[in-house]
Symmetry: C2
DNA sequence: TAAATAAATTTGCACGCGCACAATTTTTAA
DNA sequence: TTAAAAATTGTGCGCGTGCAAATTTATTTA
């Protein structure tokens, strides 16, 4: 029952444990003859490394740099960080060091700066949400030159230097929104998509969502529901936001459904009367505090939850499985599209 | 940066490592005064056990007996087992031994036998789904005498010898079903609850679900939707099942919604024509293969997913956190009530 | 060629914890 | 007072790694 140790091998080979260690782990500086002998004996005895002892003795620190938007600039990002910390808690004895770097979600310069800093500290990998696509591609290329692979969450991006992606399929979340409107709207109602974002960020995910929504109604025509979409890039300005919405109302008198493509539904709802909002079926993303208020009081009908906790948790676990356990990890892992309503909201992580 | 070790404590307390070890791990045989001093110093230094070293030195094997229904007798139970194995994979170096014991989901005798066997092999804890409530209570009492605590999943049961429960809140799943019917049905439609189960098993969960559904429509009366409920205990007999359903149709001509309280919606749908089923809005539980077919083809409108994977995963993790990390674990952890439709089904674990 | 120096290879020990057992001190009994 | 028993405390081993120290081997210099 007792398993074979390097000590057993050392004894049989007539050398010290240190020499066996150098052979087993290819550290070099061993005479050819001795090396062959040790390998032979190890094989014969069926030696298997005791990973617990190995981890205990090793001083190797795996370093992962995490570059995410600051929760101050966008509420959503509180939870992925919790997921990362929770995963870390589980594996903290494996010698993993996490370097958190935050950037303002509206600043591509800060993003670039922080990822550059991340690369400079030469981590084993960088975990990030590549919200700025053009910048991300450049930075991932730079990382590749430095042999630093990336693990991504939240925003999908294809690049051979990305080990894994964990997050939703934007297209299908839009498609799902279509279904939800379909069962809640009437014949000839209109759905309006509102993208409250500065144009610079995240464009493909927005358009994928719209595409999904439109495709749904291409495939389900019984109710003749029409879809239009608008970008409100000056959404931080109350007055402008409200004016643009009123304009949209005028253009679309049959507007009955509003699809917010991100977590910022609350921005507009903050400016409208409850009675007015109740005329619409509203779907938004993310269980952040200001949205939850409106879900509870009935102004938001559905929230599509992006599993922010698991984005962080699985992202870090991908790192662990790849670097520490040498396991295969999935190149992309699409997280569930959770349909959150008032009646089940309490059971989701928030 | 260097962490505090028992050696540090021993030095400061003027005792040997062995004594510190005895204090830290409550092994007794230490003078009161010395014990107090060691505890005080450990606290001051913020000592945290290095569980890698601890596991390396320890010869203790943690044994957990897992008693679940066999997947052969009920499809659902494939996935919790996968969750357990996945968690195990993550923590396998901690010296955890799992003993799997299966029982036919329809046999309370087999259940009793297997839990009894589990108790006999004297594990550190038993992880089980207490589907048979009367039997479970008796068995948990016996376990208590033997000082074997229980970790439960799927079916909630209150007992002081249960360390934790991971699963859904039955009441709220019924309440959520109410909401889903409410947005899909018309004025004066009727909802029928069908419980396809032998009466012996799981009664409270069934009644809690019905109670949740009824409460929903007590609180939301605008559509005047009426709820009735029936138990089809001979559901394995095609002929009887079909006859009883036809009877129910006759009694309830306004029946437009059907709520299956468990995963057996497919049993009835297997016997009906698609055209007939399409007259009804149908809600069932669990993403098992035969149900998925009907979700895909539109016969089932909503499936409430019970997170079977996480039931297993979290159940085992609760064991690890309690016994190995000595962490507080939640006495009850309600899992999300996932609303699964055709459009998001591919993104849930199955 | 031998001594001196450099390079290559090998050894030995600490690391942190739990456990078994040895050693010591204290208490009890004779 | 002394021996025996009980209570308490101390010590060394195990596991793989990494580093300093030691030893062996190769090369250079006089």
């Amino acid at each position: 029952m007792k398993s074979v140790t390097i000590k057993d091998i050392a004894k049989l080979a007539g050398v010290s444990r240190g020499t066996v260690d150098r052979v087993i782990n290819n550290r070099g500086n061993v005479k050819k003859k001795v090396e062959e002998k040790v390998i032979k004996i190890a094989k014969e005895l069926g030696y298997e490394k005791n990973i617990i002892a190995s981890r205990l003795a090793s001083t190797k620190v795996y370093k992962i740099a995490v570059v995410l938007p600051s929760p101050e600039s966008d509420f959503f990002w509180d939870i992925p960080k919790e997921g990362i910390l929770s995963a870390l808690n589980l594996v903290k004895y494996y010698g993993i060091k996490v370097e958190f770097l935050e950037y303002n979600i509206f600043s591509s310069e800060e993003f670039t700066n922080q990822v550059t800093k991340a690369i400079e500290c030469k981590p084993d990998a960088i975990l990030m949400a590549p919200l700025f696509l053009k910048e991300s591609e450049k930075l991932i290329n730079i990382g590749e030159e430095e042999k630093i692979p990336f693990i991504t969450i939240n925003s999908e991006l294809n690049h051979k230097n990305i080990l894994s992606y964990t997050g939703q399929s934007s297209y299908h979340s839009g498609y799902l929104a279509g279904k939800l409107f379909d069962i809640n709207l009437q014949h000839d109602d209109e759905v309006i998509v509102l993208n409250l974002a500065h144009e610079i960020s995240n464009a493909p995910h927005y358009t994928d969502k719209v595409k999904g929504l439109i495709d749904y109604f291409k495939e389900h025509k019984t109710k003749h529901i029409n879809v239009s979409w608008y970008e409100f890039d000056d959404f931080l300005n109350d007055e402008v936001l409200l004016r643009r919405f009123k304009e949209t109302q005028n253009i679309h008198p049959e507007m009955k459904g509003i699809f917010f493509t991100n977590s910022r539904a609350y921005r507009l709802l903050d400016l409208l009367q409850k009675e007015e909002v109740e005329k619409y079926k509203i779907i938004g993303f993310d269980m952040i505090e200001p949205n939850l208020k409106y879900l509870q009081n009935g102004e938001i009908d559905f929230i599509i939850n992006q599993n922010p906790f698991n984005q962080g948790y699985n992202g870090l676990m991908n790192f662990v499985n790849h670097f520490i356990h040498n396991r295969e990890i999935k190149q992309q892992e699409y997280l569930p599209l959770d349909i959150v309503v008032k009646e089940n909201v309490d059971f989701y992580y928030k």
